[in-house]
Point group: D3
């Protein structure tokens, strides 16, 4: 589970290692109803496309992968059951976020601590700020992500958002 | 696009033929926010699972297939742009529903008329009523769908729903 | 108040007579969040445009007219206060709908019974069905409405909707 | 659980018998977001008041009773977890509605079949129609309910609703 | 009215004094749709339970007390009418929050300034931070609240939330 | 487009100049669902009234002006199509907000940079703070706005909001 803004090599590495251990992996894109916002600049569709293309490029077995978008729930206590309704059947959840772990644990779902690659290197917030500042971010993401973000002119989108204090979801 | 309640051989045949013509196919599951209702008994997660497993069983190239759940929009005029935000980039839409075609056409999206297999044979409403009445519906759906629906005891769910006049979404 | 699907000569006559009695008139377009539906085929924007143009064509004093779109409220008991927040200050409401009168009266708002022109002649439901069947409906609406509906090809929209059983707002 | 439109002697009898068996009873008012509608004419507040006053009048031990309003959930699969978040801790649910039982059972909640008093005698739909037609309904409800419904002029509200085809929640 | 995160001795004292003056008291739990958040960690159900048990423990006359959960309204101008629909009939509101007083006053509802016990001692924000830091908070709340919060392991919940920057309701 | 909290002389000047160039102008009031909040203190109805009265006072040709309230959309990517459904037909949008321009440009709508009068002089945030502090703000707004804000006692409303940390839309 993650927002995948954007999907980076740390995410891809984790998916690969989960597939080594498990029959199937579901990559659940959270906050899918949000886009064009500072923390969620890319649409659900763009995120599905970048993840799918990255898995394909890495030659993962796509018949064992699901890429699914899910929405945040305002009533947090219903989130776990929403998850069960929105996703194919799953046995465990990998999450390094203690908040997520607590909510799922309170709902009786097994939560595993994922092993992430170097998080200072592979970090979506950092990658977004590198895109804006013009630093080299190409090596932090799968090539498929780089191509998609270039095609949609992510640099312009992120720059405009970062300079603006307009946020239609806030009050 | 469809509700896929359930996914049947007519749907699978169409997906197969679209893949013959196009680079990629996106199977968009509409009404994904609804479940346990007469016309939408199965959850989005169950539908993703039955479609994915059917494509796999039919040996379609999953690296060219997307299975994505989307929600109905109450403001119909925003539906086409919601679709663009929720799905990977697409060039055309296959829909035999004139209402859907009109809305998309009014938004400048190209709509193609799909060629369906015999619709009296492969029809989700009919399959649901066959499940309830105990008729043979096994031959109308991919084997993967038959297995999933058996595992979740679809017969019981559909029977209870069909005998009930409770619908939490209605007033 | 009304849905104005479409605005017809009965509505225009009523607005004219209210202006004879009152300082100002507010024409409140209800169900403004709905469109492309059997009872609500036209968008809020289209309805604002047809009403504004009709008032102008009839040489009413537009400095004394407001045309405002409002949404239905699911919690009916909050509707009167929503109305007060969405509309310029008003003293009374003209409504021939007993249900509307009851809700407003329970909230302490004065409700007046409007005098409508011949309702069998000027009736939005009837006009919509005349548009579909190709009967002469031109004389039932202001010329400005006739022109707008022709420009947006209302006949096609209404025909497709009437032949379809798709309604994205229903379950 | 029930809509309690209105709360009648069958409901009161059931609450009394549950208190004989259990430590505490939670009376959960469903569809609490709806009011002034054909099937849900009374507000959540009015229903809380009529139930509370009835329990008091019947000298039930109010320190062992909870009266709680809950809303319908459009995503039915999340309903059981919403229930857990909205209600004090509970061990079992009494419901004679097979649809409700199925949803709760699928969520691992124990459901008991309640024993109702004569349902042809004590039936909320029937009581509402008796109120409209002027038949004697006083003996079907606790006296506290009779007084409240008289005070708010339920007869007028139900009559106006029954004669109207306006339903702000429908499309 | 209050969020009651958690219900403390200051709240209990106020309820007791209102019952001295008034026939009945309604304790309205605001923000009831929120939980597992920094300012709203406990569910509506947990809050109903802690309040009910505290009133019972203090031997207040429960036949004169209502404990009702209500939701925040995004359109603030409709909040007073929502309140009227969600609560049993009331004559006045006790609120020490000027913002709340203004909104209710603009809607014609009488607002009384409550007399609170020492607010530096009895303060929900402070109690939550004492729970996290392990200070003695037991004497600030009714014993029934202490027991419930211990049973649900409030310390762990509050600690995880306070260390996390995840908030599913924010953007 | 703007929130118009409140409508000031800079806005009026812009409307006047757009009318010099264009056939018609639509003044679209954004965030119309919000009110009694720090950035959005006035209701949609109050804003419609102040704008309408200002245009009238300035003797603009009201038959060429539309004043329309629109709501923020949480899924930003659907905002442009929502705009098209909520407004009369338009050809271009005047917006000095780069964020707004980007979203509309991505949807194929032509965006023009408006020429504003001295923004340090005519600035809604500054006017709101002048109202609270008691400075002279009368010369920054049309007389009609001054009168309305005085009538509704805007000073009190803004003062209470500015001193309060209650925001029912936030968490």
């Amino acid at each position: 589970m993650g927002r995948f803004q954007p999907f980076h090599l740390g995410h891809l590495d984790l998916a690969t290692r989960i597939l080594d251990e498990c029959d199937e992996v579901i990559i659940a894109i959270t906050s899918s109803q949000f886009n064009y916002l500072e923390k969620d600049p890319f649409t659900a569709g763009e995120r599905i496309e970048m993840i799918h293309n990255s898995l394909k490029e890495a030659s993962l077995d796509l018949s064992r992968c699901f890429v699914v978008s899910i929405e945040n729930q305002f009533n947090v206590a219903t989130w776990a059951s929403y998850l069960k309704s929105a996703l194919p059947h799953f046995d465990k959840v990998f999450s390094g976020n203690n908040y997520v772990s607590m909510i799922l644990a309170d709902s009786g779902i097994e939560v595993m601590e994922p092993m992430f690659l170097d998080r200072t290197l592979y970090n979506a917030t950092k990658i977004r700020s590198m895109i804006v500042s013009g630093e080299n971010w190409k090596d932090s993401v799968p090539n498929a992500v780089y191509e998609l973000l270039t095609k949609i002119n992510a640099k312009n989108r992120l720059t405009v958002i970062s300079k603006s204090d307009t946020n239609p979801t806030k009050h």
